[in-house]
Symmetry: C3
Subunit: 339 residues, 3 copies
């Protein structure tokens, strides 16, 4: 692909280099080779510029490099431009339609002709599989479930009864959509009585779910993952939660039941969200933090339990010296005759 | 169902409303509609009483509401009564017996005629599947394993060699029962030598296991989950652990090897339990806490490492101001000429 | 097996007991019965010596016991000797070669005649399954993937496109090798644009992966788990990570993207490693700790964020009294007229 075409599809401008330069791939600074375009988004990686073998680079506004032998594409957002380039070099392959003869599809299910159903897939009563959906091998779709247009279910996925997967969704391997919520009442003998879990899970359009993630159905009503939300591997979403549009939930994070995660919220890795609370739009919880209270929109929260990130940084800095702090306190008390 | 019948099956008493009132479903305060019965168990939700559209409500002893247009059923435990009502409205469906022609069942396996074996299930040598058990699609039962009466294995579950699932158990999708414990010895070249894992896992009766959970077999002997214990999604149970009766283990909690979790213990989400220790009956570990020591019966423990919950609450309150505390200490030292 | 033979295969010396004593099994102190050999490696278990029913015991250098009725094998490392004994009593069974008629294998795949492919396995285009590999039921191997000699894939495993599993590897049930990395760029409307994940995962020889673990493919390049590394259940390995030889990663630990875990590193349970950093050879992170910075070789790190383990122990000891420390500080300030 010529540099000029790459500039066009990524919304960037040629600042150095010939418009006719042939670019054949995209990769990070360390992996890029001759013919590749790379990018610099994080100043931390500036030293790698000297050694990169890339032929071209995306740079954000105001960023300069001291190599003249590399073509420069100036972009508003170098990382986004690189992403668009990589997508251009690796376009999604169209799905080859067809139903494998070993697939077991109930006669009441409606499966679009343009969809692809792979070997050993099992699809239950009254399911709907829409246009160009791709169901990989060994997937189970329970009765009454629906998979939207262009969505991909990877091998080992289970979609439980009556759950709904929107359009353009991707669900990675061995994830579970719609397992029972974890709800019990205690009886007079202190034994657990299971609360029926008769609700469902709805994934709206453009949702991506990682591998080995579990999203529980509601007891009554819905667990809902809204348009554009992205959920990583090994995440737990408890029953009746709502994850709002474009939220990003990193690996091994867990949401207890009935919580609401706002728009564009970022929950970093291994975060914990207690039940029945609200994390406001654009809030961020840093890795390994937890909250048992509502979080205000836009807030950055850290710690267990979580509080303001900047105060947490101060507290953790002092925590490293806490043994010494306790000692100094004793010294003062001794001097003052307090102990 | 008439209100009078509902009172009977839930062990509650009509305090307001006609015994002949028709109740058609049960739901929480926010989701309940006309004809539904709801409940109030947590005073936090009292404000929702004003807006609920429910026709009837379960109230615990001594709880009053200021609406006269809602029928009231007085219960010892409103949450339990609601649970029993929901179970009445949504009784478990009897399993339709039968073996799907694509199931692969070894000729030495004994499969009860009243059980249901779905498509693409694989059952090994000498397995036993008891009366009315339901094995969903794409499940694998390894050689010598046993599944008890009325138990349900959801799609994607693996039950490994010689493991045993009791009666009335439910195992949700993609969980693993009986994977090898994580045990290695170091050789002279500092390489890991695998310790054979030849024990098994036993789930006793009435156990429920969530989705994508892993329960390891013992190296020698058993990992045992006792009667009535409930384990959520994405939980790790290490080799040779014992989880005692009616224990409740929430999502993403992990037990290292050989620990014993007492009766009715509650381990909240993302808790960690080190190896070779004992958590006494009725103890509680709050979310994200961890212990590397035994926990006394009845104790509530928080933190990493965990200690008494009330002290932990005091410590975490002070931790938020720890940067400031360090500053105040410096000010005192300065005043006293100590630094 | 005679005691003399057991001494030979475990590299230990008979110190007490007849060389002709028949030993029939191996087990821990508590589970061992007559005819078994046991071991004492951790002094904590010395009291169990009095009660054990074992007929023989492995003891390390300089360890004495006060029972004369038990044969003693003196070993450099009692735990390793016990492991070798257990392996001798429970040798791996040779795989019975064969392809189950329900397996779906693409005609372009190369499957060694000595391998075993179980029921309902699906193997894609151009895959290679080497000598004596054992693919358990309901496994999916995507196009272009390779499984090395003697490796075992347990039921429910997915190996994604172009990934490589080395020789003598074991992958436990429902694990995912090669799911997409979690990478998105934000567009001008603050929506997430998926970054193509076109790299792969390589597991080198002698790697063991637990159950329900997810290892993401690289966006470009490789995620690599090197020779002899052992990874437990429910672990997350992010895209482009490298886990070096003989590293040990315990359950529920998560690695964000592009981190490098050194040789023989031990990451205990529920540890978190941020992205783009390096944990030096032989370092240890204790359970539930996390690091967002590089860790020096050989260092033992604890806490969130992690720092030197001994200092952390001091800090956590003081943390338990932090409420009281704050109170004492107020008392001093009062005495000094500072507040």
């Amino acid at each position: 692909m010529k540099l000029s075409r790459l500039a066009e599809v990524t919304g960037s401008a040629i600042e150095n280099g010939s418009p006719d330069l042939e670019i054949t791939g995209a990769a990070g600074l360390d992996l890029a080779g001759e013919g590749d375009i790379t990018f610099l988004a994080n100043p931390k990686y500036t030293p790698q510029i000297a050694a990169t073998r890339a032929s071209a680079i995306f740079l954000g506004e105001g960023v300069a490099i001291d190599r003249k032998d590399i073509a420069v594409l100036r972009a508003r957002d170098a990382y986004l431009a690189y992403t668009l380039a990589l997508r251009e070099f690796h376009p999604e392959q169209p799905v080859e339609a067809g139903i494998h003869p070993t697939a077991v599809i109930h006669k009441t299910a409606k499966v679009a002709e343009s969809s692809r159903i792979d070997a050993n897939v099992v699809i239950g009563h009254n399911c709907v599989i829409e246009e160009r959906a791709h169901i990989h091998p060994n997937v189970t779709v329970y009765d009454g479930a629906r998979v939207g247009e262009n969505s991909v279910l990877h091998s080992g996925v289970s979609v439980r009864e009556n759950c709904e997967v929107g359009r353009n969704c991707i669900i990675h391997n061995n994830s579970t959509i719609g397992s029972d919520g974890f709800g019990y009442a205690k009886d007079a003998e202190k034994r657990w009585v299971k609360i029926p879990q008769i609700g469902r899970v709805v994934l709206e359009d453009d949702v991506e779910i990682g591998a080995n993630t579990a999203i529980d159905r509601a007891s009554v009503g819905e667990t809902r993952i809204k348009r554009g939300a992205k959920i990583d591997n090994l995440v737990q979403v408890g029953h009746s939660c709502t994850v709002d549009e474009d939220a990003l939930i990193c690996s091994q994070t867990g949401l207890a039941g009935s919580s609401v995660i706002g728009k564009r919220v970022i929950l970093a890795g291994q975060v914990g969200i207690a039940g029945h609370l609200k994390v406001g739009d654009d809030a961020v919880l840093t890795a390994k933090s937890a909250t048992s209270h509502d979080v205000e929109p836009g807030k950055v929260v850290s710690g267990i339990p979580g509080f303001d990130n900047r105060e947490w940084l101060r507290s953790t800095a002092a925590f490293r010296r806490l043994g010494e702090i306790a000692q100094r306190l004793r010294a003062i008390e001794k001097k003052l005759g307090l102990k």
